[in-house]
Amino acid sequence: MFVSYQIKLDTFEGPLDLLLHLIEKEEMDIYDIEVSKITDQYLQYLHTMQTLRLDVTSEFLVMASTLLSIKSKMLLPLHVEETDDYYLNDDGIDPREELVQRLIEYKKYKYLSETLKEKELERHRIFTRSPSDLTAYFVEQEQNPVEGISVYRLFDALEKAFIKASYRDPLTKIEREEISVQEKMDQIIQLLHEHQGIIYFSDIVLIRPSRSEIVVTFLSILELMKQNKISCVQSHAFDDIVIHESPSKGVIEHGLQ
């Protein structure tokens, strides 16, 4: 039986999140995105996701076409001459403008969600208790605790709960067993040390070939690449990815001169 897994990469909430990651990785100015470079990287990323048979949701594809459209607009010959602003359209609008605004808006809430996370952890350091069972204090003419709530609202509540349950991510249970990205990163580095600094992507996923494992592995590789600890080469689409230990990093780590 074929089950279509709805796997989403933990680190990227969506195309905007992925784009922000790419922009930050390249240390680009968000107001002056090198669209061509980012588009290539974005497409490469989607391609890798597909190669790994991870679910690429439609939002990622829509963003791909948005990027391609901006890229092509920026390649069009300019009608307005004598201008410093290279990329202005006929109407004087930078084709990147709308995307930049969306990225900034999204980044704002991503930042706020992190501050909320801190508040959450802080609040979790204090404990309360469940309310006492106060039924002993109910007197004759007690208040109806469901005053104004009809039995049909109860029915509605159940219906809503069932609907929600029916489209809940079927992977909730698997997620709990997932090994962490950090653990996987350590494993990869360990393997690289054992194999003279070169391994294949297929080597590391074959160790435990569950699909969530593939996702974690993939994320670990991205993270290690970001930290310049490894580099990856894929000569052709669908080829195995070759993972190299980054030589400079190795030297620093081992303290060699």
Partner: protein, 184 residues
């Protein structure tokens, strides 16, 4: 750890354990002092509570201690349960009540599986409002508590029996054939 800190931690522990209470041995392990000393501290605290005219007291059953209210405050708790705000049900409460009503007897874990979120708080609130109660234990590992609705639940909703609840929504077909698409 100084004496006053130990008192504060014991007070905090007695507070969070609620109606279950906590026994001397647990207290001794957690604050890392021996049992006799724990008993002395609690005895001392019982004196403090009285002397300072606090709103709670420490009561003891066998080796177990728990915080409890004062009998002379009963009137105020009666007013509390009768106050209109005490009775409003939040969305999580209503949702949990609906699940218990239709799927009883049901365990906490089963409720949480349907709701997809932890449900300890709404369950406890429904108990404190007298809408649901423990109706037994499941004969499996851990003997989890089974919850069901109370007689008062029927009264409040004006039902003669559970048979008068509207028939439950039927989602059994949907779950099989890609219900995802239908609800998008």
């Amino acid at each position: 750890m100084d004496y006053n800190s130990m008192k504060a931690i014991i007070e905090g522990l007695l507070f969070v354990v609620g109606d279950e209470g906590i026994d001397v041995k647990q207290l001794s392990t957690i604050i890392e002092v021996d049992r006799n000393e724990v008993e002395d501290i609690i005895c001392d605290m019982q004196g403090d509570y009285k002397r300072e005219k606090r709103g709670m007291q420490i009561v003891q059953f066998g080796d177990t201690y728990q915080l409890a209210t004062l009998p002379e405050h009963a009137l105020y708790f009666e007013r509390l349960v009768a106050s209109p705000n005490h009775s409003t049900l939040s969305q999580p409460g209503l949702e949990t009540l609906a699940i218990v009503a239709y799927k009883q007897p049901i365990t906490k874990i089963e409720i949480e599986e349907i709701r997809g979120v932890r449900s300890e708080r709404p369950i406890n609130k429904l108990i404190s409002k007298g809408l649901i109660k423990e109706v037994g234990r499941m004969e499996t590992v851990g003997r989890p508590i089974l919850y069901g609705t109370t007689k008062e639940f029927l009264d409040y909703f004006g039902l003669k029996s559970l048979d008068e609840l509207p028939p439950p929504p039927d989602f059994s077909n949907l779950e099989e054939d890609e219900s995802l698409l239908l609800f998008t």
